[in-house]
Symmetry: none
């Protein structure tokens, strides 16, 4: 049995039954235990499995490919997000210094930004598109969050201290009348906070599915920001938000 075949075999067996012993694999592939051990060492190096005394166990690939994760999220409320993004981008003037949060809605903004805007972002997925549009781009530092490709942590916050913004565009997971704005990851919340504090104006982009939701980490009060959301069937639903702060309603 050839080396790559063996590797594939080992991985597929592990994927199926989560664990396998060296003996088991040795017998199934008709090779020596030495060979299996070498294979396991190699595959562990590659991060494909975790070894333990006697065998190995399946390891979930930590990051799904960028495209699939984004593609999946894009499908949800895509039209609303695009409309919100387009409106948000229309607020930007050439020469403005912006903070552009990681996330799909802010990602859509890039296409409609005026040339000459200067962008600071914590979203790795934004970079490619920003460069294609020849927009001067700065990235903050920090630890790379696998799932969303956002930069978080101390490094991110420290980096942000070097910038001041005219406008700050944040994505958000929860918008609640009493609990304010919130997001699931505390580290990410802290980054949003810091960016908001460094900005003259703060805009929060949230489609209607986020309204009334609360998640774990508090970011800031609704009074501190302008909320940009989309048209909902029941118009009166938005009234209490309008009493709290400035709300821009976009029709997709």
């Amino acid at each position: 049995m050839l080396t790559p075949e063996r590797h594939r075999f080992i991985l597929s067996l592990l994927q199926e039954q989560k664990v396998a012993t060296v003996q088991e694999l040795s017998a199934a592939t008709e090779t020596s235990e030495s060979t299996i051990r070498r294979d396991l060492v190699q595959l562990e190096q590659e991060g494909k499995l975790t070894r333990f005394h006697g065998g190995a166990q399946w390891r979930e690939p930590s990051v799904k490919s960028e495209e699939t994760t984004i593609a999946q999220r894009l499908s949800q409320h895509e039209a609303e997000k695009r409309a919100i993004a387009r409106f948000a981008a229309s607020l930007v003037k050439s020469g403005d210094c912006l903070f552009l949060d990681a996330g799909t809605t802010t990602f859509y903004m890039i296409d409609d930004l005026p040339p000459g805007a200067i962008v600071v972002t914590n979203g790795l997925t934004h970079i490619e598109r920003l460069l294609e549009r020849n927009i001067k781009t700065y990235l903050i530092g920090g630890s790379v969050k696998g799932m969303t490709k956002a930069l978080i942590g101390k490094g991110a916050v420290e980096s942000l201290k070097n910038y001041r913004f005219d406008k700050c565009f944040l994505g958000i997971n929860g918008v609640h009348l009493e609990h304010g704005l919130s997001t699931p990851d505390p580290e990410e919340a802290f980054v949003k906070q810091t960016a908001a504090n460094a900005s003259t104006e703060v805009f929060v982009l949230a489609d209607h599915s986020k309204l009334g939701k609360t998640t774990f980490s508090f970011v800031c009060e609704m009074e501190d920001v302008t909320l940009i959301t989309n048209d909902v069937n029941d118009q009166q639903q938005l009234d209490p938000y309008k009493k709290k702060t400035k709300v821009e309603v976009v029709t997709p």
Copy 2:
């Protein structure tokens, strides 16, 4: 059987059964194993397949723009760079905190890094692969340099001040006996300097084509670093470098 026919045949067979041995291909095409090996080397260079000891395996054509641009640059001195990278990675122990410079040679290191290493980098192109390998990754901030996807400028240098490294791996464009190490972009040079200063050990990865060259921006003296380079035909060529500093010579 003519060369292009053979290549087509090899690829179609691989597409069908994913793997094939040299023997198998040699028999099927009625050519010598030498010829098949030459074919496989060529096709691997073109990124059409992956070779392994005993044969080759099918490689899915990747459509990502990022990889193609890298793939193009890979063609130059690829074997040397890979060998240098592999050696450099072998110096890393699990738990080490590293700075990994942007660039193709350092990119190759990622595959061979031990799991458990902690990486700080200024290379955006490295991120994807690092995450695939489940390596804890920090990105420094800064302005994004379009061409090389490296982070540079004040933000980058400021970010670096938050880190200390066990080992620092730098790519470099010029290695000169008198002029020391140099790179074309002053901003990039400053980032390399800062990273080197924050590290206990500094390694410079440079294939033989960089030796004797000088470019615009000085980075540091050769005495301050360990040079990792590849075997050259004229061994004595390396002697003066060895007198200056520690040199590791790698055979591709």
